[in-house]
């Protein structure tokens, strides 16, 4: 288990990482999510031993590693752009760490290449590979000697979106198959969700929230975090109360798969009344409101836009204001029309309320 205790890193007196404490249990994947410049890459480099700590401790399985140079830590680092060695073939890249340990093995290289789905690429040069292939090779290279911790620096963000999604799924599968403990930093919440099981949200050098990914997701600590986690809008006061009341009155709406007894809904409903007039707020995703003939909310369609999966609406809802909503792909809504909406309780989250947190 990787343990960070009050880790701080400063560049020329400017704090890039401030008092970060995190645990990464064996076999789990932690995503450090944050906007660019929040210090997440610096944190990663500090764990790898590429940046000296200003204060704090990093230990692995209870043993401090701060004083170890990078190559003795046993943490493999995978860069955003792979950083393959251009003068070596794919096989030599993958086998690099094996050769360093004087146990080269073509069988192991072949096994790794097939793990990342690149059989037959052994003799290619990195320059002839596509971005996705390069990342796969980099992953195979990092996994070659079964590092006790794999550090991933925005492993997928250099790729185009379709490829990113596919590779994210593969990455998770490969990491779980290898039982690798991993820490990845990313600015893309989708990427974090697809790959990781633990999440730490970082802002301005500090970790503002961390925990199991679903829990963080369903209970963002503040408005900024909520927006960063992909929530479209944050409602407060009576607007939030109106939406929550709609959940309460319509917990069994056909469009919401969850039962009223699910913890999210129960918690939300429990807070509903307290919210009226309170200072807590409610984060809603773009698809939290669904067009529904029996829905409790009424609104006027401002605009509608067709996407490959759903019809996306912007609706002026009575007592709430402008919100995003979705309708079936084949339905037709035009500006000015009145629409009834129900609330999908799995797509909203309370902020700042005293929710039980892990």
């Amino acid at each position: 288990m990787l343990t960070l205790t009050d880790v701080s890193v400063a560049y020329d007196g400017v704090m890039a990482v401030e008092a970060v404490s995190l645990d990464v249990p064996d076999g789990s994947i932690l995503a450090v999510l944050g906007p660019s410049g929040c210090g997440k890459s610096t944190l990663l480099r500090a764990i790898a031993g590429l940046e000296p700590l200003t204060s704090g401790d990093i230990s692995f399985d209870g043993r401090g590693v701060d004083r170890l140079p990078t190559h003795k830590r046993g943490f493999a680092l995978m860069f955003q752009d792979g950083q393959l060695f251009a003068h070596m073939t794919v096989a030599r890249n993958v086998g690099y760490a094996l050769r360093l340990r004087r146990r080269p093995s073509t069988a192991r290289v072949a096994e790794l290449l097939s793990l990342v789905g690149l059989e037959g690429y052994a003799d290619r040069l990195p320059t002839t590979l596509s971005g996705g292939e390069r990342q796969r090779v980099a992953l195979a290279r990092a996994l070659a000697v079964e590092p006790r911790l794999l550090l991933l620096d925005e492993p997928l963000s250099a790729l185009d979106s379709g490829l990113r999604e596919r590779l994210a799924v593969d990455l998770r599968k490969i990491l779980h198959a290898a039982g690798t403990t991993a820490l990845m930093v990313t600015h893309d919440h989708d990427e974090a969700f697809q790959v990781a099981d633990q999440l730490a949200v970082m802002r301005e050098g500090r970790v503002v929230q961390s925990g199991v990914i679903d829990e963080v997701w369903s209970a963002p600590v503040d408005e900024e975090t909520a927006l960063f986690l992909g929530y479209a809008r944050v409602l407060s006061g009576s607007a939030a109360a109106t939406v929550l009341a709609a959940v309460e009155s319509d917990g069994t709406s056909p469009s919401s798969p969850s039962t009223p007894s699910s913890p999210t809904v129960a918690a939300a409903q429990g807070q509903a009344r307290a919210l009226t007039g309170g200072s807590a707020s409610l984060a809603v995703r773009r698809s939290a409101l669904v067009a529904d003939r029996h829905g409790p909310l009424f609104g006027a369609v401002e605009s509608a836009r067709v996407t490959p999966e759903v019809l996306r609406l912007v609706v002026e809802v009575r007592d709430v204001g402008l919100v995003d909503a979705v309708a079936a792909r084949d339905s037709h809504w035009g500006p000015g029309e009145t629409v009834r909406l129900s609330v999908d309780p799995t797509r909203i989250a309370l902020i700042g309320a005293d929710l039980p947190r892990v």
């Binding site: 480099r45 140079p69 190559h71 360093l100």
Partner: protein, 544 residues
Amino acid sequence: MRRWLTLALLATGPVLVVGVFFVLPVSGMVARGFWPDGAFEPRGVLEVLTRPRVARVAWFTVWTAGAATVISVILGLPAAFVLHRLALPGRRVIRAALLVPFVLPTVVVGVAFRLLLGEAGPLGFLGLDGTPVAIVAGLVFFNIAVVIRAVGAAWESLDPRPGEAAAALGASPAQVWWTVTLPALRPAIVSAASIVFLFCATAFGIVLTLGGVRYATIETEIYLLTTTLFDLQAAAALSVLQLVVVIALLGLAARLRAVPDATAARSAARPRRIRSGDVPALVITVVVLALVAAPIATLVVGSFRTDAGWSLTNYRALTGVGSNDALLVPVTEALLTSVRTAVDATWMALLMGLAVAVLVTRRSQTRSERRVRGVLDGFFMLPLGVSAVTLGFGFLITLDRPPVDLRDSALLVPIAQALVALPLVVRTLVPVLAGIDDRQRQAAASLGASPLRALVTVDLPVVWKPLLAASGFAFAASLGEFGATSFLARDDNPTVPVVIFRLIGHPGELNFGMALAASVVLAGTTAVVMLAVERLRVPSVGAF
């Protein structure tokens, strides 16, 4: 069609100049060997090449140049690392100081080494004066700066992340060096080494002053054969030999230097803090600095010494012609001549170099166009490898009759010096121009900029500093040029290096003292120019 027209227009000037003032003299020199009496007679050349002395001279050239190259690289690499990668206080000044030897007049360095290693010198006890070791040391002194600059520049812009990736995979610092850093630096090292070998193999002034008659390289042998023995056929034969070897070497260097993508984005790493593991490299750097400083220090100290103790006598004597009328004109006048000549040579080299650099870096649209540009690139590098002595002598025998009669022209010396400086200018400008992404110009054009306007918007802001640096280089190189100038400068209108050589050839303590003082003045002038160049912070300065 328009592209070809522009290409031809840009190429005409430099090609004509290099053709008339380089190809013509050199081929004239070569023709002397093969057509001794107007009839083709290659046997004479072959006979010369089979002489035992020629074989000895050739071998001596190769091994001294080889040894000097190896030593320069071995000492230069750690110094390049320390000065370009570590946060060493004052590293900028040290880098500038190390650049000075490279442009010091060869004669000055010869004098400094003789003073250092001579019987009365501080290192006289080593008994190295007049030995091949002294020659190799002199060559290393000159060329170590080339290695440090060229490799250092590459090292500075080397992306540190592959090394970090290797370290994260478990590679120790030594393993990172062998498996990642060295392969990445190899093109820079090979190209620096081949250039250093080239410089060493064609070194003239340093070998002539340190080796005397006993130890001769091909270059000094050509000089000896033409000026003392008047054996033009043998001299021509050696010139041909040298030309062939140099062209082969340049071709090889170009091939080894070829890097797939020169414009690839490279991130300059921040210099890192010094660690305990850097101590060996630091020690070697200090040794290098000492090696470079010792001859210069000896020279400066010597210039202030006379029999009567410390004095400025040697400097005061510079206004005179030396004892026993060693000179025809006072040294101060020679200094004026030197500066005037260098100014002329600089604008000539700059004008030509700029045209050549633009010419060879413009993106080619067709394969044939690219080939033409490649050939031109190599063509303009030729003066780099051809011995200045051959060039100077070629000037004498070919440019003395119509259509080009420059025997008495004041431009003869500047032209020769400009040709010698041309490769320096081109090599300073080409990497910078090649580094400009062509899409920048396309973006400018798409916004409505004419080609000229695009040049002003995109190229000029990037290129003006390197241009200044290149003029500094050209100026310094021309100030110290000795090989060609020794042939071409008239006795009543010599440059300072020629005067210094005359002074050390004449007996008399005052003459030697004056040579030292003149050397210090010349070295000081060059150093000031180089320090100004360094302040421009052009990353590729001196990177060939």
